[in-house]
């Protein structure tokens, strides 16, 4: 009986499906679901999908949903590091199509290196760089570094060699929202900024938004730097790695349930410390530095509509310095370790053909522990922060002309501004700065509409909210910085300070022609956390502090306009963008502020405003054997603080009048790829002493000589300019058997950093020799010419 009923049932279902399909055929919209993958069936995130004139991008799982009318449609897919694909599709009912992209480097003549088409993209001031492009960039010690690479784009600057900060359009280093798979990373650096924490082997791409920030992002004033990690291979086990001069990497990936779920784990460790001990065992005895990091990602496709992904990162820097004076036995010891740990679980759901949602649970942790002993005196210092976050984002494609996005997030912050105690000697005291707690929340609604074929508008409103809450107890200080003896005590959950702001966002694009467009944007962004730092190098003793009664949230308003032109026959793309940014409630520390173990940190702060404006030119060559870009920025960045520089505006430390970067990749042959980078930038602004005087006088009556200390006298803030920074880096990639069908593949990367050995200033100082009565300016350079070699493999 059963056998006989089956054909009937199948027929019945076919009938029902056909009926629905036919009925739906009379509706206006069909859903076209695309799954974009590479040859290994790995999803390609952020691929640009253009269906007729409608534009969208794939999500992290390589999925994109487009609402289309029944009929014939032209579908064009572009993605970083892949050949563009074009298809004519006839859509009858709702359709789901998997599409495979060919990697760009397989074809010598028509390399499409990097990706997004600036002309048609609705969003402005955005760059996406894929891992293939990142890997071609010559870098310090051969370490692929997404954060270093984005500083080669106009409007994005670094602080010089080993300068940790990234400065986007005049903003501070704490004004960038650095995300790894959507999880906030508080300290994205290793080795005081010489390397970022993003291991090239685990990265899929990096996206940076320096203006026109969409409403789904917030909490930082100046930019979004979003790193997407790579999904593991869903079909077979793969191992890859690299052995370099100062570090090695190893990555393993593969399926957990074939075709359904995958894992990727990637680890890296430097061995400068071990090398140093081999070279000079005596001088590096008990001293050393190393860092390690581990990235892992698990993905699981529950069914066609639901998937889970789990991202984990853990990394640590360990530094030790030990010196023992041979004769006196005086010991100097400094130990510090610091690092981030982050974890995030994301559930993605395609609820219907038009509606998609993502829900994330996120944990982020940063901690620093240090231990300083000098002979009998010693101190242990620790600081850190903990974040717990829930985030929910919704995307609704109303039709092929209109999409709506909405979402919310809640973050609970726990700040440990510092605790210290002595562990050695007799200087016995324990001190603890009270923990602080904050609750941050935001909600947003935005919509993008193709008003006409040419005119696209995106508008959004984000509303953000921050509470500084108890439990906390703090001593009250008078205006003169003297404790009043009174204490404020707040119980758990009691609100100490509360702020909320609307943040309007607006973006417009007008297509002048097929290959040219104009864009305009306005954004307001609000920031509730500040990084407390006084040093030029972002040392991990920096503290994150929340807004409070005294510290008001930072506010930035930015307007930007741009013109974009493509020359598709030649493979060129040109853009020019100009921006004006106003910053309010900016925080600086008083010169010589006490940051560590200071209960009255707020008393050391001064408040002011800033402004930045500039013009950015970018010419990219995207196809052909030679690819690359030339970026140039002309800009000015100022700060005005009533308490500094007599209230007069002064240049921001990283004000850079001229900033030029040239990158080039040239495929010499199938085996050899050449890459080069040249950068030039105006020197950093610096405050130098104009005068000096003697102080703390005493007399040696035996020799009839005075004893005293020389003190520098400073005039205008940041009035002095360091010499210009410029550098050329080259690298050659050699693939011995490019056509090999073997599973095991390898290549060599030979690099030279700072080819012409430019002595770029790391810092400068005035050397005063009181005996010889001479004063000499000195410049310290960190990285002279540095060759590197790395061997990479995968199987």
């Amino acid at each position: 009986m059963a056998n006989r009923r089956k054909p009937f049932l199948i027929g019945f279902w076919h009938f029902i499906i056909l009926l629905f399909a036919t009925l739906k055929g009379y509706g206006q919209v069909r859903s076209l679901k695309l799954f974009i993958s590479d040859a290994q069936q790995q999803p390609v995130a952020n691929a640009g999908i253009k269906v007729d004139s409608a534009i969208t991008v794939t999500d992290m799982s390589g999925n994109a949903n487009v609402a289309v009318a029944p009929g014939k449609h032209q579908v064009v897919i572009t993605a970083v590091g892949y050949e563009p694909a074009e298809k004519i599709m006839t859509i009858q009912g709702d359709t789901s199509v998997p599409l495979e992209l060919k990697p760009a480097q397989t074809q010598l003549k028509t390399i499409t290196v990097y990706g997004e088409r600036q002309v048609t993209l609705g969003q402005m001031s955005t760059h996406i760089i894929g891992i293939d492009q990142l890997k071609r960039m010559p870098v310090l010690f051969g370490e692929v570094d997404p954060l270093k690479t984005i500083t080669l784009l106009p409007g994005i600057k670094n602080g010089g060699d080993a300068g940790a900060g990234i400065y986007v359009r005049g903003g501070g280093p704490d004004q960038n929202l650095v995300l790894l798979d959507g999880i906030t990373v508080y300290n994205p650096n290793h080795l005081l900024g010489a390397f970022s924490i993003f291991n090239g082997d685990a990265v899929s791409n990096i996206e940076v938004i320096k203006g026109g920030m969409p409403a789904e992002y917030g909490g930082r004033l100046s930019s979004v730097i979003a790193v997407t990690s790579r999904d593991g291979n869903k079909d077979s086990l793969k191992v890859s790695g690299g052995i370099g001069l100062i570090s090695s990497r190893l990555t393993a990936e593969g399926p957990l349930v074939k075709g359904k779920s995958s894992f990727l784990i990637s680890a890296r460790r430097t061995y400068i410390d071990q090398l140093a001990k081999l070279i000079a065992p005596d001088s590096f005895h008990n001293s050393g530095y190393h860092f390690y990091d581990i990235n892992a990602k698990l993905t699981y496709d529950i069914n066609a509509a639901n998937s889970l992904s789990f991202t984990v990162y853990n990394g640590k820097d360990k530094f030790a310095y030990y010196r023992e004076a041979e004769s006196s036995g005086r010991k100097r010891n400094f130990k510090a370790d610091w690092g981030n740990a982050i974890a995030g679980l994301t559930w993605k759901q395609q609820i219907s053909k038009k509606l998609h949602q993502e829900l994330s649970l996120v944990y982020s942790y940063f901690n620093l522990g240090s231990n300083v002993t000098y002979d009998t005196d010693g101190i242990i210092f620790s600081s850190g922060l903990n974040d717990y976050q829930v985030k929910n984002d919704w995307l609704y494609h109303v039709n092929d002309k209109l999409f709506v996005k909405a979402g919310w997030q809640l973050i609970r912050h726990e700040f440990k501004p510092g605790a210290g105690e002595t562990n050695a000697g007799q200087q016995e005291f324990a001190s603890k700065i009270t923990k602080q707690y904050g609750r941050e929340a935001a909600g947003y609604l935005s919509a993008g509409l193709d008003v006409t074929r040419q005119f696209h508008i995106t508008g959004g409103l984000r509303v953000s909210y921050f509470d500084q809450v108890g439990p906390t107890e703090r001593v009250l200080y008078g205006e003169d910085g003297v404790p009043t003896g009174q204490k404020e005590k707040y119980n758990k959950g009691v609100v100490i300070a509360r702020y909320y702001y609307p943040e309007p966002r607006l973006g417009m694009r007008y297509l002048l022609a097929k290959d040219a467009s104009l864009k305009l944007s306005y954004t307001r962004t609000v920031q509730y956390l500040q990084l407390a730092t006084t040093s030029a190098a972002t040392f991990p003793s920096d503290l994150w502090v929340p807004v409070s009664k005294l510290i008001k949230p930072g506010i930035a308003d930015q307007v930007a306009a741009g013109f974009y032109q493509e020359f598709p026959d030649k493979g060129y793309e040109f853009s020019v963008e100009t921006y004006y940014k106003r910053l309010q409630n900016q925080v600086e520390f008083k010169p010589g502020a006490q940051l560590l173990l200071n209960q009255n940190l707020e008393g050391e702060m001064v408040f002011g405003t800033g402004r930045a404006y500039g013009i950015e030119l970018l010419l990219q060559k995207k196809t052909g054997a030679l690819t690359g870009w030339i970026g140039y920025t002309l800009s000015k960045t100022e700060r005005t603080f009533p308490a500094l520089n007599n209230g007069m505006p002064y240049p921001y430390r990283y004000d850079r009048t001229h900033d030029l970067s040239v990158t080039a990749n040239y495929q010499l042959s199938k085996k050899w790829l050449f890459s080069g980078v040249f950068v030039y930038g105006t020197g950093n602004a610096l405050t130098m002493p104009g005068g000096r005087f003697v102080y703390n006088l005493g007399y040696n009556t035996k020799t009839d000589e005075p004893v005293f200390t020389n003190i520098d006298q400073y005039g205008k803030v940041n009035d002095y300019r360091m010499p210009a920074y410029h550098r050329l880096d080259l690298s050659f990639s050699f693939t011995p058997n490019p056509d090999s069908k073997k599973r095991f593949k390898s290549n060599w990367i030979f690099g030279v950093y700072n080819v012409y050995n430019r002595m770029n200033p790391y810092f400068i100082y005035l050397d005063v020799n009181e005996e010889k009565e001479t004063i000499q300016g000195k410049q310290v350079t960190l990285f002279p010419i540095l060759p590197s070699v790395t061997w990479n493999f995968n199987f």
């Binding site: 005081l192 102080y695 703390n696 006088l697 009556t701 005293f708 200390t709």
Partner: protein
């Protein structure tokens, strides 16, 4: 960083020319309750950074007075004009009876030292200076001194020259009231060849406000290695916060330079145009200790 610097960093000479601001009048004044001859005011001038001169450039022949008074909340300072002392560049025996230009003392130090100027805890002092037609003023107050519980020293050790040395330790209890600040000075009673606060030993590296340690028992080991057998005269100096802030900024300013520091300006408590320095009220408890 040390390792990276050791591996790669290099240094070269460069020319740095900077715009010098206006020259500053530099004031270093003290009023204390323990050492009469250590109540003095030094006046000097700042130099261009690239000037070849490395000694003090004194301001001579200025009018310098110190007046005692009291402070009451609400009514402010009341100055006792009869207490006004005119300070002069006199020759004092402790400085070999030579006139040191720019160093101003109460002349009674030489003529009637028992009645020379002396600070009193709880009182305030007004410093008035007139030099080259410009006026400068400063006010400081002496808090109540904090009692030294005891002085001890660490276990002794031999240094590279074979001298037996040890480190001095001070023990005291921070008062229960918040807002106390201390400076630590000591001198070797055997070697009496120095004069002035600037020539004393002091400890610049200890956080010495009680913001975080209010009311705690404090035990400090000073890092100076002192010869065993010598007797140390110790001065536990209690100061009001502006004076502490000045010396704290001074200790930071004297180690300026390098990539990890920012320019530090002194937190001066002198009023006037283009002037820097401090008028420091020191409330002292003193004790002696034989290094063992």
């Amino acid at each position: 960083m040390g390792i990276i610097l050791a591996l790669a960093a290099c240094e070269k000479d460069i020319d740095i020319s900077v715009d010098a601001g206006p020259p500053l009048v530099v004031v270093e004044g003290y009023i204390n309750n323990s050492l009469r001859s250590y109540n003095y005011v030094i006046l000097g001038k700042s130099l261009r950074y690239d000037a070849a001169d490395f000694a003090n450039t004194p301001i001579e022949g200025a009018s310098v007075t110190i007046t005692a008074g009291t402070y009451a909340a609400g009514s402010g300072y009341t100055w006792d004009q009869s207490s006004k002392v005119r300070m002069q560049e006199v020759k004092i025996p402790e400085l070999g009876s030579v006139r040191v230009p720019g160093v101003y003392f109460d002349p009674r130090i030489v003529t009637d030292s028992a009645h020379a100027l002396m600070g009193v805890p709880g009182k305030s002092y007004l410093l008035e200076i007139e030099a080259a037609g410009k006026k400068y003023t400063a006010i400081t107050s002496l808090p109540q001194p904090v009692r030294i519980d005891s002085l001890t020293n660490t276990a002794s050790f031999k240094d590279d020259s074979g001298t037996v040395r040890a480190r001095l330790m001070v023990h005291y209890k921070d008062p229960d009231t918040l807002g106390n600040a201390q400076l630590y000075y000591w001198k070797n009673l055997e070697a009496k060849s120095t004069f002035g606060w600037g020539a004393m030993y002091n400890d610049r590296y200890i956080p010495s406000t009680d913001d975080l340690i209010n009311g705690q028992a404090v035990h400090i080991t000073h890092s100076s290695r002192l010869p065993v057998g010598d007797t140390m005269q110790y001065f536990l100096v209690s100061v009001e916060r502006p004076v502490y802030d000045f010396w704290n900024s001074f200790n930071k300013a004297r180690i300026n330079g390098g990539p990890f520091t920012t320019p530090v300006s002194l937190k001066s408590n002198i009023q006037g145009d283009n002037v820097v320095g401090s008028f420091s009220g020191f409330s002292i408890s003193t004790a002696a200790h034989l290094m063992r």
